[in-house]
C-alpha cells in the first residue's frame, strides 16, 4: 500500500513536472511567436517611413576619385507633370526611368543605356501661377560654401542655400549677375568621367546672357575657367569657358529680342540628326524655338521645348571630323 501510494505519488509528481515542462514550452513558443509577430508588424508599419526617405541616387556609381571643377555634371528638370515628361523624353531619346518616392516628393531618375542622364522633380503649379519649367544645370565644385561666398561677392544671388543631399553631395542654387540660374554640386561619389557623350546624352551647354563679358568674369571667379573669345555675328559675343583643357560651355549674347527671353543656361543633347529630332519633338507635343541651323563645327543645332515648355538644345556631333561650313 505504502509502496503503491509512493508509486502513485511519484506518478503524480512526474505528471506535474511534465505538465510544467509542457506549459513552459507552450509559453515560450507563444512568447516567441507573439514577439516575432509584433516585430514584423512594427517593420511593416514602418515601411512607408523607410521608403519615403530613400535618397536621390548618387551621381556616380561606384564612387570615383575624379573631380572636374567647372564641368556641367548633371541636369534636373522641375516639372508639374512627371508622367508627361517621361512620355516625351522617353519617346524622343529612348530614355528609361526609375521612380523614387521621397518625402520631398516624386523624383524620377532618367537613364540612357543604364547611365543616369537626368533627374525629374515634381512641383505642382497652381492655375494662377506663371511658372516656367526649366532644366537646371549643375556645375561641379569641391567646396559649395566657398563658391557661395565668391558668388555673393561677385554679384550673384543665392536662390537656395548650400545643403546636403544624402548620397548625392552638397549643392546650392544661384543666379548670376544677369539673372541666369545655375546650381553647383560637390558630388559625394566624385564626378562623371570626361568622355564623349553618346547620342541621347547631354553634350554641351550655353549661357545665353545680356552681358557675356561680365558673366565670364563672374564664372571665372567661381570655377577658374579659361576664357576664349571666338568669332561671332554682328553685335553679338561668343565666349568659350574651358577647364582641364576641355571646353565646358559657351557664353553668348542674347539675341536681338533679348527683352523677351531672360538670361538662361541652355543644355544640349547629342543627336545624330537634328532636323529629324526636331520633327519628333513636334510629334510628341513639344515645340521648336530655334529651327535647325548649321553651327560652327558643321553640325546642326536647334532649340526646342518639351510639353511643359522647358527649353533645351539638340546638337549633332558626328564621330568623324567634318569641315566647318561657312557661316
Amino acid at each position: 500500500m505504502h509502496s503503491l501510494r509512493n508509486s502513485n505519488l511519484a506518478d503524480s509528481n512526474s505528471e506535474k513536472r511534465n505538465n510544467r515542462r509542457w506549459v513552459n514550452r507552450y509559453q515560450t513558443g507563444n512568447f516567441l511567436k507573439r514577439n516575432i509577430l509584433a516585430a514584423l508588424l512594427s517593420a511593416v508599419a514602418c515601411m512607408p517611413a523607410i521608403s519615403a526617405e530613400l535618397p536621390v541616387p548618387a551621381l556616380v556609381v561606384p564612387a570615383v576619385q575624379e573631380h572636374h571643377v567647372g564641368k556641367i555634371v548633371f541636369v534636373e528638370l522641375v516639372t508639374p507633370d512627371i508622367a508627361a515628361a517621361k512620355q516625351f523624353y522617353g519617346g524622343l531619346f529612348n530614355w528609361t526611368f526609375h521612380d523614387i518616392d521621397t518625402k520631398m516628393g516624386k523624383y524620377t531618375e532618367a537613364l540612357m543605356n543604364g547611365q543616369a542622364v537626368a533627374g525629374f522633380i515634381h512641383r505642382p503649379v497652381a492655375a494662377n501661377q506663371h511658372k516656367q519649367p526649366a532644366w537646371l544645370s549643375f556645375i561641379a565644385v569641391r567646396d559649395v560654401d566657398a563658391v557661395k561666398k565668391a558668388a555673393v561677392e561677385h554679384g550673384g544671388k543665392v536662390l537656395y542655400e548650400p545643403h546636403d543631399i544624402p548620397d548625392r553631395g552638397r549643392e546650392a542654387v544661384f543666379a548670376d549677375p544677369q539673372g541666369a540660374v545655375f546650381a553647383v554640386l560637390a558630388s559625394t561619389n566624385g564626378d562623371p568621367a570626361d568622355v564623349l557623350a553618346a547620342n541621347g546624352e547631354w553634350i554641351w551647354s550655353s549661357l545665353i546672357t545680356v552681358d557675356p563679358d561680365t558673366d565670364a568674369a563672374f564664372y571665372q571667379d567661381l570655377f577658374d575657367y579659361e576664357v576664349f573669345e571666338l568669332p561671332a555675328g554682328p553685335k553679338t559675343q561668343h565666349l568659350m569657358f574651358a577647364s582641364e583643357n576641355f571646353a565646358r560651355a559657351s557664353a553668348n549674347s542674347l539675341p536681338s529680342d533679348k527683352a523677351i527671353t531672360p538670361p538662361h543656361w541652355l543644355n544640349y543633347v547629342r543627336v545624330d540628326d537634328t532636323a529629324k529630332m526636331a520633327a519628333k519633338v513636334i510629334a510628341l507635343g513639344g515645340h521648336v524655338l530655334v529651327e535647325p541651323r548649321i553651327d560652327r563645327h558643321g553640325g546642326k543645332v536647334a532649340v526646342v521645348a518639351d510639353t511643359s515648355g522647358a527649353p533645351f538644345g539638340l546638337i549633332e556631333w558626328p564621330d568623324t571630323e567634318i569641315k566647318e561650313i561657312s557661316k
Partner: protein, 99 residues
C-alpha cells in the same frame, strides 16, 4: 500569465514603432532637411519667357571640334583671357570605356 505576454508583446510592438522610423532616418542620412518647402535645390526659378530669341546669321553656340590657335582677347575685359597662342580646347573625344 497570458496577459503578461500580451503586455510584453504590445510593449515591443510600440517600441518597434517608435525606434524603427528613427533608424530609417539615420540610414537615409536624416532626410533632405525637410522643411515643407523644396528640399532639393530644384524649383521654378526661371522667369517666364515669351518668344524665344531669334538666332540671326553668324550666331553660333557649339564647341570647336579641332581647336585652332587662340589669337588673344581683343580689348579690355573684366575677365582674364586665355593666353595668346593657346589652342582652343574642344569637348572630350574618347567614348565611354575607351579612355
Amino acid at each position: 500569465m497570458i496577459t503578461i505576454f500580451w503586455r510584453k508583446s504590445l510593449a515591443i510592438a510600440v517600441l518597434g514603432l517608435l525606434v524603427l522610423p528613427l533608424t530609417a532616418c539615420v540610414v537615409a542620412g536624416g532626410g533632405y532637411g525637410y522643411d515643407g518647402n523644396a528640399s532639393v535645390g530644384v524649383d521654378y526659378y526661371e522667369p517666364v519667357g515669351g518668344v524665344y530669341g531669334v538666332w540671326g546669321p553668324g550666331y553660333q553656340v557649339g564647341p570647336y571640334r579641332d581647336g585652332g590657335h587662340f589669337h588673344g582677347g581683343n580689348g579690355v575685359h573684366p575677365y582674364r583671357s586665355a593666353a595668346p597662342g593657346r589652342s582652343v580646347p574642344s569637348i572630350p573625344s574618347h567614348s565611354r570605356g575607351r579612355h
